[in-house]
């Protein structure tokens, strides 16, 4: 009963509004009727009928005669054209079609077709059959007596937002009339469309009352006995459904003159709906801003921009929100802001809940707009978030800091030490001594080239150091040698590959291999080895195709943009979804990599902490939108028809035009909310929309982005990089949250030191080796990792660097170390990814096993950086030791200790084989003298001399095990590899001994 009551009440309310609207729009209807249409669909009764479940009720009524339209699919009522009122028909883009059966009335060769459209649908499909059909009387084939009006693009793939009217007289060529290129009709506004055609073939197209295009199709018959169809093309099936609103569809037997068209259009304006304009001079500060403050600021104020709109500052207010421009200076009639506050649009009223604006307030706003919307600069209200953000340490300009004074000046080898020591002294902690020479060599060696020092290097370094006394020359020589080593690039490239989420395959179900990934990996290694200036390295990776298109050595430099995860499955492909996922991956990866910011949150909502709005986020996506993957072999963009099982060879290229991107509500593709303009984060220095005024500006977007990243006024890139370099040397970073330099991240432990390093970097041509040398010559780097009691109690997390941070080797370094110590490391450089054999059980989890083990067995012992990174199956050895997950940017390796790591080194095939190789190497190089064998083993495995106690225990272990194993048959014994074994029992004991060494903490922890 109550429900019934409510229904009645509701329908009263609806009819009331309805009556009001009809009255308002009556002028338009009268104009139309005076021209005697033969069909006039107003869609006003639609809302009553759409809920009827019965098929026969699904009808839209002809308000002139009896040519009612039959509805197929889902058609809903929606607000009608502003200024006309009533309702419009909303087509869902998939199912909705309205058909008006042919009874002879519409077999016209001379006619006018008139309607209103409002849509956000992309018009990016080729001009025939187009992106969507508005109204048609189509037949198959060209020149077959028909006509159609649809949405299309002359440049497929580009959203041109154009309308096309076609007439196809029998026996002649089809004539296409196009709406102007610079007028996008899919801007979510109402547009008035009129198309006329005379028997002799003269055609005219009017958009919003103005003649847009005209031509002659040669004349003749364009009539046929087909039904008139709205919303889809009966000939070309379901692919061209219209998504949006249609209203006031009229067909005339006569040809409307330009004057009549203009008269129709002008009577549909909003004038009758809006409160009158105040008749006085209006002052923004005195009259308008108080209204905004009172009614609008809660959602559109200095620090809030719901729907992307803020009314606090002139620039942003005039730019508009996600829905587009809201203030059109000198035209209050067309200004969306006025419509919204006046509530003429019955699906939206502002403010939505709070007190509405009075008529006189609206009148003031109208007067202000009509008087030019003058807004003095001084009236802008600054965004407190930006002000706060600019106070945030990472957004402030980098300033070379002054070097702090310290008491223990002798400990200070360079400014780095002063920054560190100042904090230690403040905490009352004495810095530890310098690490012993062997430790220092092993530390530097793993750090710079990721490999252990050879026994000869250890021995000669110890001898030279002894001769040099306290002199630093031998150490400096070591550092220079390491930095010049070709292995340096391999080690440091691996760090970089983590950050850029490097992978050799696409991931997901098909997991196609990338043939371009290794080429990018080699490019990265070479770039590090030649100490390429890092700003140049950034430019190359983001925009080599734009900046140096002819430089073949840079063909794969943009791999950063093409080695990410890429989803492909069978079935009906959704290119828009695939493209969106790709842009999301790029935006998130690039922001983390260079800016150290988490922008991903802003995909769904404006960032809670940092000054990053949804518009900023999609503005960044728009920077990458023109770029596409390019299949080098097929010379086209990869699409779903390509054979994805073959290795993909991709580069990056710009499209011929920039696709239009939308800001997406909640990050959902189905909820576009206005065009996204390419821009850099507005709250950051140098941020804001890109200048796109030049032809083909879109082909320079990535170049501009790369230059902005490395420009003087961008404070983030250099800081982020300096922090990374420090982290890769010390295993912990100065900014404890290396992936978040924003307001929600942790501030740096040593802000001045970070800025000192960033300054050193930018003032020395962005050369990383300059920073390496600086860091490695500091005592902070050379100090011992042994913790004093005071260091442990006052600095438990070692944030102050009261000791050198001990660290576990990364997965690839453990792999490299095993092989290097065993003497099996294949030091060959570069080339395709190596696929070593792995346990069968690991392959069982894959549908497309496709694990094609590299044939040449020597390749299996290449360095870890050359081993395949397959997204759907990471190398179990690496995975166990916390290798980077290549789905997203990895800025820090995890080092959790788990028992599968123990099982891997104790029982695994790789460790077992290398233990036997190590044993063979020891026996081969030393003979079977146990003492010297142990001494040699220590130099190899730990890079130091064995202590007498260790020697004694080791010898005892070997002798005991040799004795215990003496009577075993040789085929029951583990055998060393690469050594002719005359003493199987000793050989087996040495294997156990080697396996034990490789399983020790000392083997994989670096002091």
């Amino acid at each position: 009963m109550i429900d019934q009551m409510r229904t009645i009440l509701l329908s009263c309310v609806i009819s009331f509004c309805f009556l009001g609207a009809v009255a308002v729009g009556q002028r338009y209807v009268d104009e139309v009727r005076s021209d005697a249409p033969v069909l006039y669909l107003r869609f006003d009764k639609l809302s009553e009928l759409e809920s009827g479940a019965e098929e026969k009720n699904k009808t839209v009524f002809d308000s002139i005669g009896k040519h009612h339209g039959a509805v197929v699919g889902k058609l809903t009522g929606s607000a009608g054209v502003l200024g006309i009122g009533g309702r419009s028909a909303k087509f869902d883009g998939r199912t909705s079609v309205v058909t008006i059966a042919d009874d002879g009335t519409f077999r016209l060769d001379s006619l006018t077709v008139e309607f209103w459209i409002r849509t956000k649908q992309k018009f990016d499909d080729s001009f025939w059959p187009g992106s969507a059909t508005f109204i048609t009387k189509a037949t198959p084939g060209a020149g077959t007596s028909d006509w159609t009006i649809n949405a299309a693009s002359l440049s497929p793939g580009t959203d041109q937002g154009r309308l096309m009217a076609e007439s196809g007289p029998a026996g002649h060529n089809d004539l296409f009339l196009w709406s102007p290129e610079n007028q996008k009709l899919n801007d979510d506004r109402w547009h008035h469309v009129v198309w006329t055609r005379s028997e002799k073939g003269a055609s005219q197209l009017f958009i919003d009352g103005e003649l847009a295009s005209q031509g002659n199709d040669g004349g003749g018959k364009i009539s046929n006995d087909r039904a008139i169809q709205l919303g889809a093309d009966p000939i070309h099936g379901g692919g061209q459904h219209f998504a949006g609103q249609l209203d006031e569809v009229a067909v005339y037997k006569t040809i409307l003159s330009a004057e009549r068209v203009r008269a129709h259009f002008s009577t549909a304006s909003y004038e009758g709906l809006l409160p009158p304009i105040a008749k006085r001079q209006v002052d923004f500060v005195a009259d308008i801003q108080p209204i905004f403050k009172r009614h609008c600021f809660e959602c559109h104020g200095p620090d809030s921009e719901e729907g992307g709109l803020s009314l606090a500052r002139r620039g942003e207010a005039l730019t508009g929100g996600d829905g587009g421009v809201v203030i059109q200076p000198a035209n209050s009639l067309s200004s969306r802001l006025v419509h919204l506050v006046a509530g003429v649009d019955d699906d939206k009223q502002m403010p939505p809940e709070e007190e509405k604006l009075t008529n006189s307030e609206i009148g003031l706003i109208r007067a202000w707009i009509d008087q030019g919307a003058r807004w003095p600069q001084t009236a802008d209200i600054a965004d407190p978030r930006i002000a706060k953000a600019l106070q945030h340490w990472s957004y402030r300009p980098i300033k070379a800091p002054s070097i702090p004074g310290v008491a223990r000046t002798k400990w200070v080898a360079n400014p780095i030490d002063a920054f560190v020591l100042a904090k230690l002294e403040k905490a009352g902690i004495e810095p530890p001594g310098i690490a012993d020479r062997a430790t220092l060599l092993r530390r530097a060696s793993f750090d710079v080239i990721g490999l252990p020092p050879s026994p000869d290097e250890v021995e000669s370094f110890l001898a030279e150091s002894f001769l040099a006394g306290s002199g630093d020359k031998p150490y400096r020589n070591v550092v220079d040698r390491l930095l010049e080593s070709p292995h340096y690039g391999e080690r440091w490239a691996r760090h970089w590959l983590d950050v850029v989420r490097y992978g050799d395959s696409a991931g997901y179900e098909l997991d196609s291999y990338f043939d371009h990934a290794w080429r990018y990996r080699d490019y990265v290694i070479r770039s590090f080895n030649e100490d390429k200036s890092f700003d140049r390295f950034v430019h190359e990776q983001l925009a080599a195709d734009e900046l140096w298109p002819d430089d073949e050595s840079l063909q794969y430099a943009t791999g950063l943009l093409s080695v990410g995860p890429f989803r492909y499955e069978g079935g009906i492909a959704r290119p828009d979804v695939v493209q969106y996922e790709r842009l999301t991956d790029l935006t998130d990866t690039v922001s983390t990599t260079f800016l150290g910011l988490t922008v991903g949150c802003a995909r769904c909502h404006t960032h809670k902490y940092d000054p990053i709005s949804q518009r900023d986020y999609f503005g960044l996506q728009a920077v990458f939108a023109p770029s596409q993957l390019w299949d080098v072999n097929l010379k086209k963009a990869p699409d779903n028809s390509n054979d994805r099982k073959k290795p993909q060879l991709w580069t990056i290229q710009n499209r011929n035009s920039a696709p239009t991107l939308h800001v997406l509500r909640r990050g959902e593709l189905t909820a576009p909310a206005g065009i996204a303009t390419p821009s850099f984060i507005r709250g950051l220095p140098g941020g804001g929309p890109l200048d796109e005024s030049e032809t083909d500006s879109f082909k320079q977007r990535r170049t501009k982005f790369a230059r902005w990243l490395t420009s003087k006024n961008n404070p983030l890139t250099a800081r982020v990089l300096a922090n990374r370099v420090w982290q890769w040397h010390f295993g912990q970073s100065l900014v404890p949250t290396p992936d978040d330099f924003g307001l929600n991240g942790e501030p740096p432990t040593h802000p001045e030191l970070l800025d000192y390093l960033a300054t050193e970097l930018t003032e020395n041509e962005w050369k990383l080796k300059h920073l390496h040398l600086l860091i490695m010559q500091s005592n902070t780097y050379k100090m011992s990792s042994r913790a004093s009691e005071k260091s442990l109690s006052l600095d438990p997390n070692n944030r102050l660097y009261s000791r050198f941070p001990r660290r576990r080797l990364e997965a690839e370094s453990i792999w490299d170390n095993l092989h290097a110590v065993a003497g099996t490391l294949n030091r060959e450089q570069f080339g395709t990814a190596v696929v070593p054999p792995i346990e069968k059980s690991a392959l069982d989890s894959l549908i497309n096993t496709n694990w094609n083990v590299t044939k040449d067995e020597k390749q299996w012992t290449r360095r870890g950086v050359y081993v395949i990174v397959r997204r759907s199956l990471r190398m179990p050895f690496f995975d166990t030791f916390n290798a980077a997950e290549p789905a997203t940017s990895c800025v820090r390796r995890d080092t959790t200790v788990v028992s599968p790591q123990a099982l891997t080194l104790l029982n695994g095939a790789t460790a077992g084989k290398q233990a036997r190789q190590f044993a063979g190497r020891l026996l081969r190089e030393n003979g079977s003298d146990i003492d010297s064998l142990v001494q040699r083993a220590w130099l190899m495995a730990f890079g130091r001399k064995v202590t007498s106690e260790e020697l004694q225990q080791s010898v005892q272990f070997l002798k005991l095990r040799r004795a215990e194993l003496k009577d075993r048959k040789s085929n029951e014994l583990a055998a060393p590899l690469g050594h002719e074994n005359s003493q199987p029992a000793l050989g087996a004991a040495v294997v156990e001994f080697c396996l034990a060494l490789m399983n020790t903490n000392e083997f994989i922890y670096i002091d």
């Binding site: 699919g73 998939r94 690991a842 096993t849 104790l906 077992g912 036997r916 060494l997 020790t1000 000392e1002």
Partner: protein, 459 residues
């Protein structure tokens, strides 16, 4: 042969190495150093463990637990226009015809739960089942759908539910992995499904197989079979102790020493745990072969303190992905899991384990009530059924409903995220509080938005 102790004594490795044995004991390693130490819940838990029976490929709701008489009436007719807008992977709804189930349904148990009568044994457990018919999400392909079901995100590289659970709750056993996965073939998305994502690798699922080496590297590789592993290990541990003694205050070194002893124990505990020959003949016959064996192993694992076991059924071949011959294949598929499901519930109940073990049955999505080709059904995530039993779940009830044709969830809809929130709650975890900091954000399994769980309805 010398005993271990004798070897230690003789080689002079005694003192240090023996001290290890103490260290290795669970109590010896401080909780903050052991990421898998049992942790307290946010609030009292209904369930301690989970066994998730995952039907890979997507079972058809209208052929299993959600009968639709209207389908018979409209068999062969076009689906109503409002369904045409749904996206499917291979077909267009507007071109499909509704297709009635060729299976017979009956109501079972006191509660009268409708089930395909092919569930000859499981139907006897009807009063233990809470059938959730309003499951839904929006991902219609297997790979992203399976990722979504497991990780709450259709993209690869996020932590799975099992990883979140072991991160939040730890584990009740030292000798076995906390999160175990069994499968009867390769999964469409590969092993990333039980990945740890951005959580530490310690929370990764372990894929086990039956036999002597259920876990990778559990036995020394053949060429090393001659070595004495314990003696080798003792020598290494002696070196580790010496190394550690001059490096105070580094818990990583302790943790790694301990990890070797845990690994050593796992070598015998894991084969024992998966060895179903240790079960009585009656029990083995109760479960039957194939899927039933996996169910039996699952019971043995949760009995031993494993937090979560996931069994994937229908991997490799077509499985539940019945794009063709839907009816006959569902008959066979139901037959192949019926005994295992029923045995698991019955056996857990008999052992008093059902109260603390949440059993979940379901796939990554359901299937269209309409045709693909002649007699197949396409994927459909818009409304599908799962069931839960045990773990504090009130059985004998049906929650939610799909529309008349079983195409879309309409009443008491449960999104995948809501389902995850519900499971976490049943395990005593607050879905909004279970967070991990990554990428500058407090990440959650359930995503950023507030979820509507069905905890109250279930318990």
């Amino acid at each position: 042969m010398l005993t271990r102790r004798q070897l230690l004594a003789q080689t002079g490795l005694g003192a240090g190495a023996l001290a290890l044995t103490d260290l290795m004991s669970r109590e010896g390693l401080a909780a903050e150093q052991n990421p898998l130490a049992s942790k307290s819940q946010h609030f009292p838990a209904k369930a301690k463990n989970i066994i998730w029976l995952f039907m890979h490929g997507g079972p058809s709701q209208v052929d299993t637990f959600d009968p639709k008489p209207a389908l018979a009436e409209y068999d062969g007719k076009s689906p109503p226009a409002e369904l045409h807008e749904l996206h499917l992977q291979f077909t267009d709804v507007s071109k499909q015809k509704l297709m009635a189930s060729r299976h017979k349904f009956q109501q079972f148990g006191e509660a009268g739960i409708p089930m395909n009568e092919g569930f000859k044994r499981l139907s006897k457990c009807a009063d233990d089942l809470a059938v959730v018919r309003g499951m839904h999400h929006e991902v219609f392909n297997h790979t992203p759908g399976i990722f979504l079901s497991n990780t709450g995100d259709m993209r690869m590289g996020r932590p799975s539910l099992g990883s979140w659970l072991t991160y939040g709750l730890g584990c009740e056993t030292d000798n076995l992995p906390a999160y175990v996965v069994m499968n009867d073939g390769p999964l469409k998305p590969g092993a990333g499904v039980w990945g740890n994502g951005f959580l530490p690798v310690v929370y990764q699922g372990t894929n086990i197989n039956s036999g002597a080496t259920p876990i990778s590297n559990l036995r020394p590789q053949e060429k090393l079979s001659g070595i004495d592993q314990r003696k080798t290990l003792d020598f290494a541990q002696w070196l580790n102790e010496r190394h550690k003694s001059t490096r105070p205050g580094d818990s990583n070194l302790d943790a790694r020493i301990a990890s070797y002893e845990l690994a050593f124990r796992m070598q015998s505990a894991a084969p024992e745990a998966v060895d179903i020959n240790r079960e009585s003949k009656t029990t083995r016959e109760l479960y039957g072969g194939g899927f039933g064996e996996h169910c039996l192993v699952a019971r043995r694992l949760v009995e031993r303190g494993v937090r979560m076991v996931q069994i994937y059924h229908g991997c490799g071949g077509g499985g539940w992905d019945t794009h063709g011959d839907n009816h006959n294949r569902h008959t066979k598929l139901i037959q192949s899991i019926d005994q295992g499901c029923a045995a698991l519930l019955t056996d857990l109940k008999a052992r008093g384990l059902l109260d603390e073990t949440l059993v979940i049955w379901g796939g990554e999505f359901g299937r269209t009530p309409s045709t693909e080709g002649k007699d197949g059904r396409d994927h459909s995530p818009y409304g599908f059924s799962i069931w839960m039993a045990g773990g504090g779940v009130k059985g004998g009830q049906i929650i939610g409903a799909t529309d008349d044709f079983g195409f879309r969830a309409v009443d008491d809809k449960v999104h995948l995220h809501d389902f995850h929130a519900t499971v976490l709650k049943l395990l005593g975890l607050d879905p909004e509080q279970l967070t991990y900091r990554f990428g500058g954000l407090d990440q959650r399994l359930i995503g950023v938005e507030k979820r509507r769980d069905i905890y109250d309805r279930l318990t």
